[in-house]
Structures are given as C-alpha cells and as structure tokens.
C-alpha cells in the first residue's frame, strides 16, 4: 500500500484576503526565517516562521498584490494590479511596534496583466552605491519586456535599462511570466507568452535569441534550473512541459524535450518551482493540489492535498547552515499558506 500523502508542517492563517503570492527571505541575508505574502486585498504580510505569526502587515497596493520578493535585508519588492512595483524599506524585525514600511522607489508597469516581475541580484560589493538589482517586467506594444536597474540600498534607479523588442506583438499575446538568468557571464531575459511560447533575449544587445513553442493554451508560469539549463512550464491545461537550452558559442538553442500530464483532472497550473538542490520540483494546480515530481526523471512523488481552493503560488526556501531543511511554501486562494518539509 502506498504511504499516505504527507501533511504540511504547519499552516499560516489569518490573511485577510486570498493569498496570491509567497516568497521566502534568503537566509543568507541574516534574519530569522521570514516569509512574505501578498493578498488579493492589497495587503503585504511578513511572517515569522519561528512564531508562525505575522511580523508586520501593511497595505502595499490599492489593488491586489500579485508578486512579492525579498531583496536582501529589510528590503522588499512588491507588485500590484495597480501597475506599480514598489521597493519597501522594512523596519528591523526586533522592535515590537514596527513603524509602517517606507516606499523607497516606485516603478510604473505599463502593461496590464498578471505577469509577475522578476529580480536579478548581482552580488557586487555593498560599498558601491550603484544599482545591484535588475528588475524585469513586461512592456507595452513592441517592447515585450523591460528592465530597470535599482540600488536597493537607496532606491535609486539607474542604467542599464533594456527594452526587449518583439515583432508582431499581437501574435505572441500578453506576457505571462518572466525570468532573468545569467549563464557564462551573460544575462538573458526569458518571457512566457499567451501564445504558449517562451522567448529568450540577450540583454546586452537586446537581441531575441531563441523561441520555443510549448503549449497550445496560454502559458501561465515557468521555472528554470540553470545547473542543467532545463525548465518546466505550466499552462491553462493539464500538461507540463520540460524544455532545455543549449548555449552554442553565441547561439542559444532551445527545445521542448518532454511533455507530461498531471495527476488528477486539474484544469490548469498556476505556479511551478524547482528546488535549489535540483532534486524535486513542485507544480501548484488550480484544483488546490500541489504535485511533486523528481526533477531528474520527472517521476511523480506525491500529491499534496490540503488547500480547498486553487493554489496561487509555490516556492522553495533556500538551504542554509542554520536551517538545513528546505521548506516548501504554498499560497492558496483559501487564504492559507501551508509550509511543507519534503524529502529532506
């Protein structure tokens, strides 16, 4: 008999709205383990995983929050449906009565949509005040994607600003998901589009490098594993696709290598995540289940059933010395966030 599916370690309750997005604080940034969530009512909440309670909660946006991301100690990016990406300065977590976070910087996103921004943090020395983070988000019309560099310390925006072009924007549709990655010291930006394709540009010369056709339905999310240059994508259908990149000199070649159906009749996939150690990947489905696969062989390992409504976000924490177990956080529209410890 198969073992029963695992239970979450615990769940975080008390969000006032549906949980749209969750993100861990990178433990190397030296704080208690924190999690941040964004809700459909515009609230951004940071949670302490030690006490399992909110540390602070503030109105981040006027409309629902679609993405949040930590950017180092006490810095937080949030993106709302009001078309803004905001960089927040959080108070130190020690003080009990934390003052409300301060907005350091605001970026206007012209494109209306559900596409989450992505960050690329350069590990440059903190002494220089120059931009240390690149933010990428969808652009308008011929500009498919746009990047802005930001110094998270001060909130100053600066160069380089890239605009990644696309021909016949009506053919690819809206941008649904973006990722920035670096390989062989070159930065690439990848975007998943409504047509079901993933397009990759080289940032330095804003040139479209490759395009891989994955889904018939609009693509909703994709994740990349740079160690093996492989990615997984989900769309508004019960299928996941695996694709690969290959860097051949200055050429980037991409191909779809595998397609597999998800267990159970889920109408779609809302988020995917690959664990940093490359062992497992998690797929959050619209029907409220999270499906876990081995990343190498894509063997189905577990179906995590806990949430009663659709999953909005899945994310893995990063391993560190103080907390060797890698946690999986799942945010759902049932206003709960569940924390899992799987195959540790």
């Amino acid at each position: 008999m198969a073992r029963p599916p695992p239970d979450p370690l615990y769940s975080l309750r008390g969000s006032s709205g549906e949980v749209n997005t969750v993100a861990f604080l990178n433990p190397n940034d030296g704080q208690d383990q924190l999690l941040v969530s964004g809700g459909s009512d515009g609230q951004v909440t940071t949670w302490s995983l030690k006490t399992r309670r909110p540390v602070c909660s503030f109105a981040g946006h006027e409309k629902s929050v679609i993405a949040v991301e930590f950017a180092g100690r006490n810095r937080l990016f949030s993106q709302g449906r009001d078309g803004l990406i905001r960089l927040w300065s959080l108070a130190d977590d020690r003080s009990q009565h934390a003052p409300t976070p301060r907005i350091l910087c605001e970026i206007k996103v012209e494109a209306a949509g559900f596409c989450r921004f992505c960050l690329f943090r350069r590990h440059i020395s903190l002494v220089s005040d120059g931009p240390d983070t690149i933010v990428m988000f969808p652009g308008e019309n011929e500009t498919a994607l746009k990047t802005v560099a930001i110094a998270t310390g001060t909130g100053q925006t600066g160069h380089p600003v890239y605009k990644l072009p696309v021909e016949q924007p009506e053919r690819v549709g809206m941008c649904m998901a973006v990722h920035l990655f670096e390989t062989e010291e070159r930065l690439f930006g990848a975007g998943g589009f409504e047509c079901g394709d993933v397009l990759v540009w080289r940032l330095e010369d804003e040139m479209l490098m490759t395009r891989v056709s994955l889904h018939r339905e609009p693509l909703t999310c994709f994740s990349l594993d740079l160690t093996c240059m492989r990615g997984i994508s989900g769309a508004a259908e019960n299928l996941c696709k695996i694709f690969e990149f290959e860097l051949n000199g200055s050429e980037l070649i991409s191909s779809c290598v595998k397609s597999f159906e998800l267990l159970g009749a889920s109408k779609g996939v809302s988020d995917t995540a690959i664990r940093s150690d490359g062992k497992i990947c998690a797929v959050g489905c619209w029907n409220g289940s999270v499906q876990v696969f081995s990343w190498k062989k894509l063997k189905p390992l577990a179906v995590l059933t806990y949430h009663t409504m659709g999953i909005s976000s899945v994310t893995f924490s990063e391993s560190c010395s103080s907390e060797p177990a890698i946690l999986l956080a799942v945010g759902s529209r049932d206003k709960r966030i569940s924390i899992w410890s799987l195959y540790n």
Binding site: P4, D7, P8, Y10, S11, R13, Y306
Partner: protein, 982 residues
C-alpha cells in the same frame, strides 16, 4: 561573692553581657576565676549570678579577642594570656555547666539557655581557632611571664592539649546535644546561638565537633518559629561562606560523607520510622545540600554520590496508586453534562470537589513532601541540570516502576534551577546557579518535546477509546456493555499508573511555565494543544490537573483568563486541529481539543474556529459511521456554547414554558374573545349602516397595508443571517442523518444537539422552519422507540439497561418535540396530530393501569418517567399548538384516568395541569368532560334558574377524584356561567 552579686543584680534584667564592667587585667581574671569555679561546684542554687560572673569575665576576653584586627596581626599577648587563664578553668567549668544542662529536666528555660550560652562562650574563648599555634611545638609562655602565681594556674597549650581537649569537649557536646529539640523557642534559639558561636570560633580547633554542631543548626532550619529558622539559616550560610572561602577540603569531604550516609539510610528511615524521625532526617539532608551550595555540582559528578542520592529519592517518592479518586470519571457517561463547565469556565468550584493530591506510599505528611521537594530543588539549583536530567531520564526509560518518580524529580529539578520555592531572597548568595538562562531554556524545550511525544503523552489511561468506539459500532446498545475486564489487557494498576504519569507530565509543564515566565509564550505552540487534549480527558484527575496547568500558564504568561489564553493562541490550536482532522483515525483525541476550546471560551472564538468547524463538517460528510461518535460531541458543545453565547432575545418566553406564563396570556384572550367578537360584530354592523364604515375599513386596511409594507420593507432587504445561525443550520443538516443511527449513544447525542439547535434558531424563523421540516420525519420515527420500552419491560428484565436507554431515548425525542413546538408553534400542528398524537394517547392509555396504586418504588422505574414526561410535554403541546376538538377530546379521555387519587402524586399534578391547559384551549368541552366524569350537575347561580342535568353516561367507572379536580370543575362551571349568562 558579694562583689559579683552586685553586677549580677544589675544585669539580670538584661542580657548578661550588656552591663558587664570591663575587667581586662589578666591578674584580676585569675582571682575571679577561682571563686566562680568553686561556686559552680555547689549547684544549682545561685546559678544565675554565676552565669553573670562568667559573663563578666568572658566578655572582656572575647571582647578583647574581637577587638583585634581580624587576621592581619597575631593575637596580642595580653589577650592570649587572658584566654589562657580561662582555658585553665575549662574542664571544671564545662563539666559543671553540662551537669546543669543535663540535670533537672524541669528547670526553667532561662537557666538552660544561659547555661548553653555560657558553655559556648567559655569554649569559644578558650579554644578559639585564633589561639591555635601555627607551630605546635613551640612553648610560648615560658620565657615571657615571670609571675609564678599565674604560671601555676596557666596550663601549657601545646598540641597535645588541643587534641585532648577537643576530644573531651566533643564527648561532652555529644551528651549535651543528646537531649534533643526543646519545646521552648527561646531555648531553641539559644541552642542555635550556641552552635553558631562554636562553629564560628572553633571550627578548626574542634573540627571533630563540626558535624554535630552543623546537625544542630540544620535540624532547626525548618523550625516553626521564624526567629529560630532564620537564625539557623543565617548561621549555616555564614558558616558555609567560611568553609567555601577557606576551601578546607576536609570539611567539604566530611559533608559529602554525611550526605552519602544520609542518602543511604534515608529510604530505610522513610519506610520504617515515624514522622518524628523522618522529618529531622530529611531536614538534615536539606541543610547539608544548602551548606554545600555550589559544590553540589562537583559532588554529583561522582557517580557513586549521584547514584546513591537518586536511588534514595526514587525510593522515597514511590507513589501510591491505590487511591480510588484516580479512577473518577470527569464527565458523565452520556456526555451531555458539559453545561456546568461551560457556564463557569475557569472557576475552581466546578472541578474543586474532585481535586486530587498526589499520594505517596511511604508518607502522607506535607512537611515531608516539602522537605523532599526542597532537597530536589536544591540539587536542581546547584547541580548541573543536563547531568541530572540525563541521569533521571535513564531511570525513566529503564522501568515503568521508576517513571513517575523520575518525572516528578525532573519537574522539581527544573523548578529548582530557577530557584522557585527556595526563598533565595533571604539568602542572597544563592544566585550563583551553575545553569545559565539559555541552557535552562534549551533543556526545557527538549524536555517539553519529550513530554508531549506520542509514547509518553498518549499512554492509555482508560480502556482504549478507539476500542470503545469500535464496540459501540458493533452493538447498537453499547451503553450497557461496560466490561469490567479491559479488552486491551491493561490492568487497573497500569491504568492508574499511567494516569498519574500524565498528571505529573502536566505538572511538569506548569513548572516549565513557572521557570520561563513570559518566555513560555514561545512554547505554547507545542504545549497548548496537548494540554487541551488532556483537559478534555474523561478522567477527572487528568482534566483537573490540566486545568491547573493552564491556570499556571495564564498567570506566568500574563493572560487574564483561559479565554484570553486560548483566543490569543487559537491559531496554533486550530492549525494542529485541522492537520489532525485529516487523519482522524490516528488522532481520535483531536475533537476533544476543539470541544475544550468551545467550552472554555466566549463568542470571540467563533470567527477564529469557523474555518475548522467547516473542516469538521467536511469530515462528517466524508466518513459517516466511524467518525460520527467522535465528532458529534463537538457539535453538541458547539450548539450549547452558541446557545449560551447568543441567548435568543426575540422570544424571551422560550425558556420558561413550564412557568405557565403563556397559559395566562391565552386565558385572557379566550375569556373575552366571545364577548369581544359580539361587540365587534355589532359595531361593524352599525358602521355598515352608517355607510361610511366601508370606507373607514378600507382606510384602516390601507393604513394597515401601508404599515405592513413599511414593516416589510426592512425584511425585504434581508438582514444578513447571523453567522451563528448559519453555523447551527449546518450542524442540524448533518444531524438529520444521525437521528436514525444504529448507535443509541449517538442518537441521544444528536437529539440533544437538535434540541439546542432549535432553541438557537428560534429567533430566525426563516432558518428555523425549513430545519423543522427536514427534521420531522426522522424524528417521528423515534417515537416508535417508546413502544419497545413497554414491551421489553414485560418480556425481559435481564436486558434492563437496554430498554432503559431506549426509554431515555424516547423521552429525549419528546423533549425535542416540545422544543420544536415552542419555537415553531403552528407549523408542526398538523404533523403532531397525525403522527405523534395517536402514539402518545395509546401509550398513556396502556400505562395508566400500571401506575395505579403503585408504591414508592414505582417512581424509580422507567415507566413512571415516561408517563411523567409524556404528561408534562402534552401540557406544553396543548398550549403551543392550536388543537382541534377531536384531538382534545382524545387527549382528555386518555389523561382522565391520571386524575385518580390513587395515581402517583406527580402524575396527578401533571394531569391537572393538562386539564387546565385544555380548559384554556376549549373551556366548554373540558367542563363537559370533567363534570361528566365527576358526576356533578351544574348548579345554577340563582335559584330562579333550574339546574341542568347533563344526561351523558360516559362516566368512566371506578375513578376516585381528588379535591383538586372538584375545585377545577367548580372553577370551570363558574367561568361558564359567567360567560353565557352574564
């Protein structure tokens, strides 16, 4: 003699030392010494004055000694000589005084205490450590003093002298101290002062006496008089400071040996001796541990010591498992007695009566327990906590015999490391505990997780609940099947042992809270759920202890009440509950936690648990049979709690139906209804004739309509249904399925849930009526349960309990029916008439013969209860439901036999109430039936009217009516006359 009596008389009123003149010449001393010595030899007559005499001369000596700079310089020659003079008289003086002390047991405490003080002063002066030569071989006085007179008297204090004298003094001391503890506190204080003085001044010269002296002080540590105990504690503490400062190894090792030997004989003493011996022995142990202080940790690093001590403690603390109170159940079998706990959430009284105190096998005295616990706490305070905890954890795992004691000891060790109950404020120097705060916190964390781990926390304390449920499912009448032999083979002894273990674990958690204080908040995440689990335990002892623990936690973490505690930490609880509900079969205790939360909180909790309650509903929907018995109690508590939290205000009368207030209202209405009708009729006719009446009426109607519309308007907006009503509706929806369950216990529970649920919904008719409709048909089937009661009674007496429960069951169904009638009234009238009426009236008719002329014992039978309930509920039904003539006459016929005087009193009264109710519903018919039955004729109010003789011959034979019935008839007759004639 005369010379000294002066000073004696002047000083006798005060302390002997206070007014002494200063005679510091050594020469004078010599002269003084001899007469004193001589006088003592003829005791006991002038003892007081002699004591003063010695006081005088000792004072000067000790004063001189004390006057010297403490250690910097050697003692000056003068003083030395001075003391030496006294030393020459030492043997004589000490033996004489010892004789006084040991002499007449009746002599006053003043003399005795004086004797003690004098003795100690003499010895302390003559044998002071500071006089001890550094190099014993040197004869000090030979060259310096030329006075031959004195030389003769002064003895040569060489090494041999010191040793000899010490052994002699030791001998004497032993004899003096053999007289034990005195009854007068001042004397005890003097004994302590005596010991203190010797210890302070002579701990090197009289090293062999130190144990004796320490024993004296230690024995007085727990004295009833504060002066004595505080003094001896201070004396011990200052001595231990000396010891620690000097680092004198021999003393320390002597203490350690003493502790070892004490520990060895302690179990024997506790087992066999009586309290007068045990307590001093334990006090000694406490005293020694206190004396060793921080050195305890090095003592315990020796495995021999550790083993001996722990063995002793484990053996002493053996727990008595035979106490019957351990077995006491907390909640009633039917599980419906939660109300008392619900209404008085934290007060002690609700549980107080069954408060259990740990019983030890070898002793009962609280003082002994306190002493043992104090010694353990001292160990915890000074010992290395990790070493000790590990050590006792070994015992814990080794055998189940040691488990409980080991837990008890660990609990106290932890308390000790925070110096709880060690009154360190008075000592001041206790603060040098070896365990750092962080280390303690870490230990507590690991201990807590160990305590609440599955294998320790969930030891079976009752017959396995899962087994119980399993059996419940197998036989529908499980309530009767209480086997004496536990099915899972656990003896009562083991169960009791486990119960105590759980209590100790709970107490341990309370201890952790005490130690950590506010910091314990962080551990609530782990601790609160298990404690609530135990709060809902069926064993009274366990739930009581859990309540105590929670109270302690509230205090330590700064929560004002348990409600506060639970509401603030509801997130942790709910998280655990909802996770465990996913595997209910593995966590059968989870519903208990939810139940306890509902029971001990106020309505602020409701929004917090809403989520989880829906999970409960989902589980109930998913797994029908096996889990219902676990979850329905939660629903029951929920509806009871809601009913309590939201008392329905719209229908205030709901709860007081038996008060009869409604009957009066209706009576008024009925009495004047006919005349009113006639008046109104005439009025209307007149209006019609006027021709304007129609218009007026229309106007009236219109305004009425307008009013109606105005009234309706807010209703159209549909005020949102309160959350608790929605919740109740959902609960009732689930209950419908269980009304017909095979399991009798479940059916009873469900009926109780329905009853409360209906009362909650009484305020919102929109919710109520559909529910009543849905509940009706399953409920009516339950009335069939009434019949088997009667049948079974006749056929089978063996399965007593079975039919009893069915009886209870039918009664419960009737209760629910009454509630239904109250809240929904007319809505169920027709159904009652067609479905319930026949069943009730036939059963009443059948049973009236049984109760006729029955004895007192009949009142304890089920039949009686059934009859009584049926009769009382009929009363309500008649009031609430507007019955037709046929039904009323049927009922009156069925109830009539119960008016017989030979029926039990309660039944008669109930029957009379029914007829009163009938009279309000239909006075004429009732009067007819009654007057018919009684056979009286209607007497006219005025002689000019002829009496009416009603010719019906339906009078039932052989019924003897009481006066009450006659009164009733007369009352009715008057009423009728008034109505028709006047």
């Amino acid at each position: 003699m005369i010379l000294f009596s002066n000073s004696a008389s002047s000083s006798s009123s005060d302390s002997p030392w206070s007014t002494a003149p200063s005679l510091s010449l050594p020469g004078g001393l010599v002269l003084n010494g001899r007469p004193g010595c001589m006088t003592i030899r003829m005791p006991p007559f002038p003892f007081l004055s002699i004591a003063s005499l010695f006081g005088v001369m000792l004072f000067s000596a000790s004063d001189a000694l004390a006057g010297e700079a403490v250690d910097a310089e050697p003692v000056s020659q003068d003083v030395r000589l001075h003391c030496q003079v006294i030393a020459s008289f030492l043997p004589g003086v000490v033996t004489s005084i010892a004789k006084v002390i040991l002499g007449d047991s009746k002599q006053g405490q003043t003399i005795l205490s004086m004797a003690f003080l004098t003795w100690s002063s003499v010895v302390a002066t003559a044998m002071s450590d500071r006089l001890m030569p550094q190099d014993m071989s040197l004869d000090m006085f030979q060259s310096k003093d030329k006075d031959m007179g004195k030389r003769q008297l002064i003895i040569n204090q060489d090494k041999r002298w010191w040793n000899d004298t010490a052994s002699k003094v030791h001998h004497l001391l032993k004899r003096i101290l053999s007289i034990g503890i005195h009854s007068h506190w001042k004397l005890r204080l003097s004994v302590c002062q005596f010991a203190k003085m010797l210890l302070q001044n002579c701990n090197q010269s009289l090293e062999n006496c130190v144990p004796l002296l320490v024993d004296v002080l230690v024995a007085h540590l727990n004295d009833d008089y504060k002066q004595v105990s505080v003094f001896s504690r201070q004396a011990l503490d200052s001595f231990s400071v000396i010891v620690v400062a000097r680092g004198s190894g021999s003393l320390i090792s002597m203490f350690e040996d003493n502790i070892h030997s004490l520990a060895t004989r302690l179990p024997r003493v506790v087992r066999t001796a009586d309290d007068t011996v045990r307590l001093p022995t334990l006090d000694l142990l406490v005293g020694y541990l206190r004396l060793l202080g921080p050195r305890i940790s090095s003592l315990l690093s020796s495995s021999a010591h550790l083993k001996r001590l722990s063995q002793a403690l484990l053996q002493i603390l053996e727990i008595d498992l035979s106490d019957i109170r351990i077995m006491e159940k907390h909640s009633a079998v039917l599980g419906s007695s939660t109300e008392s706990a619900l209404y008085h959430p934290v007060t002690e009284e609700t549980f107080g009566h069954s408060h259990y105190r740990l019983q030890f096998r070898h002793f009962n005295d609280d003082h002994i327990k306190a002493a043992v616990i104090k010694s353990i706490r001292l160990l915890g305070c000074y010992g290395d906590l990790s070493l000790l905890v590990d050590h006792f954890a070994d015992y814990f795992t080794q055998s189940s015999h040691w488990q409980k004691q080991a837990v008890l000891i660990v609990n106290e060790l932890v308390r000790g490391c925070a110096q709880i109950g060690l009154d360190c404020s008075e000592d001041g120097f206790l603060h040098c505990s070896v365990n750092s705060k962080e280390a303690i916190e870490e230990h507590i964390m690991s201990l807590l997780s160990e305590y609440v781990s599955e294998s320790h926390w969930h030891v079976p304390t009752t017959i396995d609940t899962r087994m119980e449920d399993f059996r419940a499912n197998q036989s529908s009448r499980s309530l009767a099947a209480i086997n004496v032999a536990s099915p899972n083979g656990l003896s009562a002894q083991t169960l009791n042992s486990n119960t105590i273990l759980v209590c100790l674990l709970l107490d341990g958690i309370a201890g952790f809270a005490e130690v950590l204080g506010q910091h314990f908040d962080a551990l609530l995440m782990t601790a609160l759920y298990p404690i609530l689990e135990k709060l809902g335990d069926s064993k009274g002892v366990i739930s009581q202890t859990a309540l105590d623990t929670l109270t302690v936690i509230c205090q330590c973490c700064g929560y004002s009440s348990m409600n506060d505690l639970i509401c603030h930490n509801a997130d942790y609880l709910i998280d655990a509950v909802s996770l465990n509900l996913r595997h209910l079969d593995m966590n059968p205790t989870t519903p208990r936690v939810l139940k306890m939360m509902l029971q001990h909180c106020d309505k602020a909790l409701l929004p917090l648990v809403d989520d989880t309650l829906h999970e409960v509903f989902t589980v109930l929907d998913g797994h029908f049979d096996d889990t219902a018995l676990l979850l329905v109690p939660v629903l029951q508590t929920l509806v009871e709690a809601i009913h309590y939290w939201f008392p329905s205000t719209n229908r205030a009368t709901v709860c007081e139906w038996h008060e009869g207030s409604r009957i009066h209202e209706k009576e008024k209405v009925k009495a004047c209804s006919i005349s009113d009708f006639l008046k109104e009729y005439c009025h209307k006719n007149l209006d019609m004739e006027d021709g304007e009446g129609g218009v007026k009426d229309e106007d009236f109607d219109q305004t009425g309509e307008q009013n109606g519309e105005a009234d309706d308007f807010p209703e159209d907006k549909k005020e949102p249904i309160p959350g608790h009503c929605l919740l109740t509706t959902e609960v009732l929806d689930r209950c419908i399925h269980f009304v017909s369950s095979k399991n009798a216990r479940l059916r009873l529970l469900v009926l109780s849930v329905i009853q409360h649920g209906l009362l909650i919904l009484a305020a919102t008719t929109d919710q109520l009526l559909p529910q009543v409709h849905k509940l009706w048909s399953p409920l009516v089937k339950r009335f069939a349960d009434i019949e088997p009661v009667v049948l079974m009674k006749v056929t089978h007496d063996i399965i007593n309990s079975c039919w009893w429960h069915c009886g209870v069951f039918g009664l419960q169904a009737l209760d629910v029916l009454c509630t239904m009638a109250e809240v929904s009234g007319d809505f169920i009238r027709r159904r009652v008439v067609s479905n319930v009426w026949p069943a009730l009236s036939t059963s009443l008719e059948r049973m009236n013969g049984m109760s006729l002329q029955s004895g007192k014992l009949y009142k304890h039978t089920v039949n009686f209860k059934l009859q009584k309930t049926v009769l009382t509920s009929l009363d309500v039904l008649i009031c609430e439901l507007d019955m037709g003539d046929v039904e009323l006459s049927e009922i009156s016929a069925a109830v009539l036999p119960y008016l017989d005087v030979r029926q039990p009193r309660e039944l008669q009264e109930a029957a009379v109430r029914i007829f009163k109710a009938l009279a309000t519903a239909d006075p004429d018919a009732t009067w007819l039936v009654l007057s018919d039955a009684v056979g009286c004729c209607l007497l006219p109010p005025h002689p000019c009217l002829t009496s009416v003789k009603l010719g019906t011959e339906r009078r039932p034979k052989g019924i003897q009516y009481s006066g009450v019935v006659m009164d009733l008839v007369c009352e009715l007759s008057c009423c009728i006359w008034r109505k028709y004639i006047m």
